[in-house]
């Protein structure tokens, strides 16, 4: 009997191939959308990670308390040894030292008088060591608006808007007025080599980017850094991995009374990122839910229609003495089979597309006129554990439930009625 029914499904393309294709497409769309959304949300978290928070960040306990004031007098010291230790203990993590500082940018006129002046937020990052990872994290090359990247000490990058405000162009000289790590005044001259667009209001108003070593010289911060940021190898914030890292770090650097001892913060622990991550997850979950629901309706209907189309067959089978319950069971098994095959193939193709999107991304660079630091032009999909299962909700459950409901229709009808329908 099973063989007989299987023959039936296989031969009737409307009953096998068509529903399998419908389920496959539905499941594929669900999987791709899910991975896509996860990817975009993930990108926005990664952006914050790259730019400010790191996946983890190491600072001094005291620095953390006043973090908004960028108190470089509380910065990490003895960074060389610290970096060495980190690299040894966590070889898989990529570490980067940074200095955040505030100051004044002064532009001198031809006679040495101040021509223009503005408050600046400074980023001291590694530009010249030969390791391009920090430059890449800041997406500097691609966000360049005028001029060129710094290639030697004493060169400075500035946000485009700031340079306009100060009315200066690449090649002009500016003076940074700030304070050293020890509280005395610091003045240092730089040549503006290029401008960048951050794509985020406050930072476009007055930011400068200077090579880390240059900043150290200017602010008297030899062998010191505001923070050391750490990144997981695949550039993807994974809370489990980060939590493990933190546990190991805390063993290596036990809590001490020393206010300048390094402590570690995860992305989640900084600012409102924890809330943001949770919200992102909620919004993502909600959108996927809506899509899964609408996909479910489609597949449900497909199951329903598939059942209705076969009332004649069911009527005949009933007349020949097959039990209601047996017919019902067989159509449920059929839909299960179709749901499973469709969900598996849909998930397979969905993951394939998503994998491509994860590795290559969708480059909207040509549509979006200017790539900026805060708005990357490439969107990536992201596959996670749920990507493997999410498609089965519409694929399997809806198909079967749709069929189950249409099947109840057979039960409700009296045999003779089904019969009348087939005589008509």
């Amino acid at each position: 009997m099973i063989r007989f029914l299987l023959k039936g499904i296989l031969r009737d393309k409307q009953r096998s191939l068509l529903p399998v294709i419908v389920v496959t497409i539905g499941v594929m769309l669900t999987v791709v959308l899910y991975c896509w959304l996860t990817g975009i949300l993930n990108d926005s978290v990664e952006l914050s990670a790259r730019f400010s928070a790191g996946h983890v960040k190491i600072i001094t306990a005291e620095y953390e308390k006043n973090i908004n004031q960028m108190p470089n007098d509380l910065a990490l010291t003895g960074v060389d040894t610290l970096m060495l230790k980190l690299k040894n203990e966590f070889p898989e993590i990529k570490w980067g030292q940074r200095i955040h500082f505030g100051g004044l940018i002064d532009v001198a006129g031809s006679n040495g008088e101040t021509r223009a002046q503005g408050p600046a937020i400074g980023f001291g990052i590694d530009l010249f060591s030969g390791d391009p990872s920090e430059k890449e994290r800041f997406n500097l090359a691609k966000s360049l608006h005028r001029g060129r990247m710094p290639i030697q000490p004493k060169e400075i990058l500035m946000s485009e808007e700031f340079s306009r405000k100060l009315n200066i162009n690449p090649g002009d000289t500016v003076t940074l007025i700030g304070s050293t790590m020890y509280g005395s005044m610091a003045m240092f001259n730089y040549t503006l080599c290029g401008t960048v667009i951050f794509g985020a209001g406050p930072m476009d108003q007055g930011s400068v980017v200077i090579d880390l070593e240059d900043v150290r010289k200017a602010l008297d911060m030899n062998n010191a850094a505001s923070e050391i940021v750490g990144y997981l190898p695949d550039n993807y914030y994974n809370e489990e991995k980060v939590d493990k890292l933190v546990i190991k770090f805390n063993k290596l650097f036990p809590k001490s009374e020393d206010k300048f001892a390094p402590i570690i913060l995860t992305l989640r622990q900084q600012n409102d990122f924890g809330k943001m991550i949770d919200q992102i997850k909620q919004i993502g979950g909600f959108m996927v839910l809506i899509f899964v629901f609408s996909m479910s309706l489609v597949l449900w209907n497909a199951g329903l229609l598939g059942g209705l189309r076969r009332y004649t067959e069911f009527g005949t089978r009933l007349a020949l003495g097959e039990n209601y319950s047996h017919i019902y069971r067989t159509i449920i098994y059929e839909s299960l089979l179709i749901g499973i095959i469709g969900s598996i193939s849909g998930t397979f193709f969905g993951l394939l597309i998503s994998l491509y999107m994860q590795n290559h991304g969708l480059d909207l660079g040509s549509i979006m006129k200017n790539a900026t630091i805060m708005m990357p032009a490439v969107f990536h999909a992201r596959i996670n554990t749920l990507s493997f299962f999410i498609g089965f909700i519409p694929g399997l459950i809806s198909t079967v439930v749709g069929t189950a409901l249409s099947g109840i229709g057979i039960y409700k009808r009296k045999t003779a009625q089904l019969f009348k329908e087939l005589e008509a």
Binding site: G8, G321, A416
Partner: protein, 232 residues
Amino acid sequence: MENTTLISIEGLRKDFPTSGGRFTALNGIDLKIGKAEFTGIVGPSGSGKTTLLNIIGSLDSPSEGRVMVLGQSISDLNVKQAALLRRSKLGFIFQSYNLLPVYTVFENVEFPLLLLKLDDSHRRKMVMDTLDWLGLTDKAKSKPAQLSGGECQRVAVARAMVKRPEIVLADEPTANLDAANSHNILKTMVRLNNEFQTTFIFATHDDKVISYLKRKISLIDGKVLKDEITNN
């Protein structure tokens, strides 16, 4: 008329619920039908022929009265018992054949035997014998769509007959057939009736069918008007 009574109907009434109340399709039917009869229920459209046949076939149940088929009361059967009765003792032939389109002729005829859980070799023999009987051997591997209307109805007869049922119920079996095919089918059924003592009950208003009947039960407005033995 034979002496073994297979079907006995007493005071049968059948009402259908309608929007305005209910419609009485059969009213006060009393009948006995015996073994190996070749009987027709005849009458104009709407007279209740199909309704009566459906009740005898346990596809529908009486509103009132007693309908005994092969010793079982139709009103007392639950769906499972009714299915068992149909599966093991009754054969159906429909106006529109109702063959399962994805299956071959062989498989269509085999289906009732699968429901009876007969083993493979047994099934095969019964199907081939029946196909042979109906001159369908060379069509065994064809699909219904590849057959003529006459051939389709012969397959339907084979499907009804393959399990050697006690009773075959045929509702307008010739309505979709031309004269030659109608006579062919009817002659086959007469042959089966003679050979296997199978009881045939028709619902029809086709004169060709009527001309083969041994007994003619005339129905009008849900009542038996005449019940006569014909001289076939």
